[in-house]
């Protein structure tokens, strides 16, 4: 009993301390947001400062692309000898995790490669941490070089409440496209031709399966690849405008639609029929890319970025967009702008940062980057890509989709928590833990919760 009395007293002492500490600090967390307006249109483009200084950039480019960035940085430093470019390279997950912390400080990185959409760029814009680029875009003519579609995914109203319109907060001239790679040898062996409708595609899957080949090389322990598998099917079942509006948060849309249920049903059906690589739930994306490059699997549904793994001038692989449901329909694909570059609001050298962005999005940079599988979006880039290579397939497919206005932005941009929600829900769907109906309800819950909080 005495023990208890003592204990209670101790607790009450702690409580007092806690209360004192708490009242001492009870102020609203987060600093007041000041949204910087766009800097005036610079009269001179390029770096005007002459004092030596350092530009810091946070990016997520690795492998071949990373090496080309290093080279471009060196060239930039040669062009402006007083500038030192410092790259902080973190992977996709780390960047997602840490960028928000880093950019909100007094000495943020000058340039950041933040993903578009609500989870990343949207949060930064809302907090006033990115600089509107409109005047730079005007000065450098960025808005003339790429189509409005590419710019729209980096546009926000300055208060960060509307996605897809308003000021420009990021810029890139490199594009991405998600489609179907195929192994030419296997396709030939199976006596198949390129499918032109969704049904033909499914037929090809069945044939491959029967022949003992892995129809779709796929690994989903990392999660993001599942979003692309689902998205690629959904792009065919649901209308383009619906998908685009859904992501931009327009017109009070719901995720719980028959089209989405249909896409979920199809993906479950494919799992059932064994069209995906056995053991996909436990395999890593990079392993699957490696295996596909080595000749395993007829198809692989993923983005242009694996071209560098397959070998840009490889003729053993080809690429096509997921064919439409109806013959003669338009093949819709996920993709569009690659990771854009943005300028931190706290940057001390915004003009130089803009010059850097211009450099990294120049035709020269594009020429160096295209062989890695990046898709040039700027008009007038001349790249000599040998036809018949996987790279030319990718670039042509992207051009077709772009011309058809059939490119849908990445779905995980739709709400701040959408990426996590989608990854988990698709893993559960593909393991038959939930039905297609439960799947869409689960996602709709996240979607509607966010949309209603915006109003």
């Amino acid at each position: 009993m005495r023990q208890r009395v003592r204990f209670t007293r101790r607790v009450s002492v702690l409580a007092v301390i806690a209360i004192v500490a708490f009242t001492a600090m009870s102020c609203t967390p987060g600093t007041t947001v000041t949204h910087k307006s766009a800097p005036p249109v610079p009269t001179i483009t390029g770096v005007t400062e002459t004092e030596p200084f350092t530009l810091t950039i946070w990016d997520q480019e690795s492998g071949q692309v990373g090496r080309i960035w290093d080279q471009l940085n060196t060239e930039f430093e040669q062009k402006y000898p007083n500038v030192t470019v410092k790259r902080v390279n973190r992977d996709f997950g780390e960047l997602k995790t840490l960028l928000k912390l880093a950019i909100s400080g007094p000495h943020p990185p000058d340039i950041v490669e933040a993903n578009q959409g609500w989870p990343d760029m949207g949060q930064l814009v809302k907090a006033g941490l990115l600089l509107p680029l409109d005047n730079y875009a005007e000065a450098y003519g960025w808005d003339q070089r790429v189509s409005e579609n590419v710019l729209a995914v980096s546009r926000w109203t300055p208060d960060g409440t509307q996605f897809g319109t308003g000021s420009l907060f990021g810029y890139t001239t490199m594009g991405e496209i998600v489609g179907v790679y195929y192994n030419k040898t296997i396709l030939e062996e199976l006596g198949l031709s390129l499918p032109t409708t969704f049904a033909e595609f499914e037929q090809a899957l069945a044939t491959a399966k029967q022949a003992g080949e892995i129809p779709i090389e796929f690994a989903n322990s990392d999660g993001f690849c599942g979003i692309h598998e689902f998205g690629t099917i959904q792009d065919q079942t649901a209308p383009v405008t619906y998908l685009t509006d859904l992501i931009f948060g327009l017109n009070d849309l719901s995720f719980d639609t028959p089209e989405n249920i249909q896409a979920a049903t199809i993906i479950q059906d494919w799992v059932n029929k064994g069209y995906f690589m056995p053991g996909f739930g436990g395999a890593g994306y990079d392993d699957s890319v490696n295996l596909f490059a080595k000749g395993e699997g007829l198809f692989m549904i993923t983005g242009n970025w694996i071209v560098q793994n397959l070998g840009a001038d490889s003729t053993g692989f080809g690429f096509f967009l997921m064919p439409p449901m109806q013959a003669g329909g338009i093949a819709v694909a996920t993709g569009g702008a690659g990771f854009p570059l943005s300028i931190a609001a706290g940057s001390e050298h915004p003009d130089a940062a803009a010059a850097y962005i211009d450099w990294m999005t120049s035709d020269h940079a594009a020429e160096m980057l295209v062989p890695t599988g990046q898709i040039p979006l700027a008009t007038g880039v001349t790249t000599s890509v040998p036809s018949g290579t996987v790279l030319s397939d990718v670039i042509n497919a992207a051009a077709t989709a772009s011309d058809n206005n059939a490119i849908v932005p990445y779905e995980d941009w739709a709400t701040p928590t959408f990426y996590s929600t989608l990854v988990a829900a698709i893993q559960e769907l593909m393991a038959f833990r939930i039905t297609p109906q439960e799947f869409v309800s689960q996602i709709e819950e996240d979607y509607s919760k966010f949309q209603s909080s915006r109003v």
Binding site: F7, A21, T28, P29, G30, P119, S221, F280, G282
Partner: protein, 325 residues
């Protein structure tokens, strides 16, 4: 998040310390010098831990994304704990993990210790060292090996197949091998994480039990045998009471360790597949950094702290009551 077992033991034991007498000063003893000794540690600890805990309490009353000014929501973040199934699920997972982190190591450690204690072991130091190694090497390193162990390659030729699958297939138990690998399968992911964590910690309990058993006077066993006790009686009448304190340390420590599980999840599964291996600490981390729910994360962190404290306290009370019977 980094719940060290030894730290957990400290919590366990710390909370059971009896309160000391009211301070009474000795002749010629300075009444203030104690503060001087404690001050350096306390200042750095208060400034870089306690103070932030206070700030964390404050944050927990806001809906805050970590960037823009937060909105005061009162206890709403705390209410989520009771209403969100996703959070409830994490605690269910933690309960399942208890089997691997608390029950199994105690059962295995105890039976091994009992068997091993019957002879003098030559080279015990060497074996101890081997058994302790998994504990001192960071999960970041050991997880690499365990992903290999758990790989099954989906049974496709040319895919990496881990030794676990190979052995099971050789034994004709191939149907037990999940195609998605033990970490990718919804049914096996959590147990697989559990086995990984168990591997990292079982040496500690085994060594503790071995040391404890060796301290039990052999006369007690002899007396029991004279009284006609069989192995089971011996265990109940001599070994378990003799190991009471070791049991308490291992139990409390492993239960706290389980509640705070994070590293294993971070390095092995990131909460997947689905949310199958999501545990409270992971959920908090994910809210903090993946989905920008900083206020909610703070509230859940504080709730977790209270739960850890309550469980520790309750376990210690329970063990002590058991001991006094």
């Amino acid at each position: 998040m980094q719940q060290e077992p030894e730290i957990a033991a400290a919590v366990a034991v710390g909370s059971r310390r009896k309160g000391r007498r009211k301070p009474e000063f000795l002749p010629g003893e300075s009444r203030r010098i104690g503060y001087l000794y404690v001050a350096p540690a306390f200042i750095i600890y208060a400034a870089f831990n306690l103070f932030q805990l206070g700030q964390g309490v404050n944050i927990s009353f806001y809906e805050w994304d970590g960037l823009t000014p937060g909105t005061w929501v009162g206890l709403a973040n705390y209410r989520e704990f009771f209403t969100e199934p996703a959070i409830r699920e994490t605690y269910i997972h933690v309960l399942e993990l208890m089997v691997f982190y608390a029950l199994a190591p105690i059962a295995i450690g105890l039976s091994l210790a009992v068997m091993l204690s019957r002879i003098r072991i030559r080279g015990l130091t060497f074996f101890r060292m081997l058994l302790f190694l998994p504990m001192v090497i960071t999960d970041i390193v050991t997880a690499v090996a365990w992903t290999w162990i758990y790989a099954t390659g989906g049974g496709v030729a040319g895919h990496p197949e881990g030794p676990l699958a190979t052995v099971l297939k050789a034994l004709g138990l191939g149907r037990l091998v999940p195609a998605d690998g033990w970490l990718g399968n919804f049914h096996t992911a959590l147990p697989a994480v559990g086995v990984f964590g168990m591997w990292g910690g079982f040496g500690f309990s085994l060594i503790l039990f071995l040391a404890g058993i060796m301290k039990i006077p052999s006369s007690l066993y002899e007396a029991a045998r004279v009284d006609g006790a069989n192995v089971w009686h011996e265990l109940r009448a001599v070994t378990l009471p003799g190991l009471r304190y070791e049991l308490q340390v291992v139990l409390v420590l492993s239960v706290i360790g389980t509640l705070g599980t994070f590293d294993e999840i971070y390095v092995l599964t990131q909460g997947g597949p689905g949310t199958e291996t999501s545990v409270p600490a992971w959920q908090i981390w994910s809210r903090l950094f993946n989905t920008g729910q900083v206020g909610s994360a703070a509230a859940l962190g504080l709730i977790m702290m209270v739960i850890v404290f309550a469980v520790t306290y309750a376990l210690n009370r329970l063990m002590e009551r058991g001991a006094s019977d």
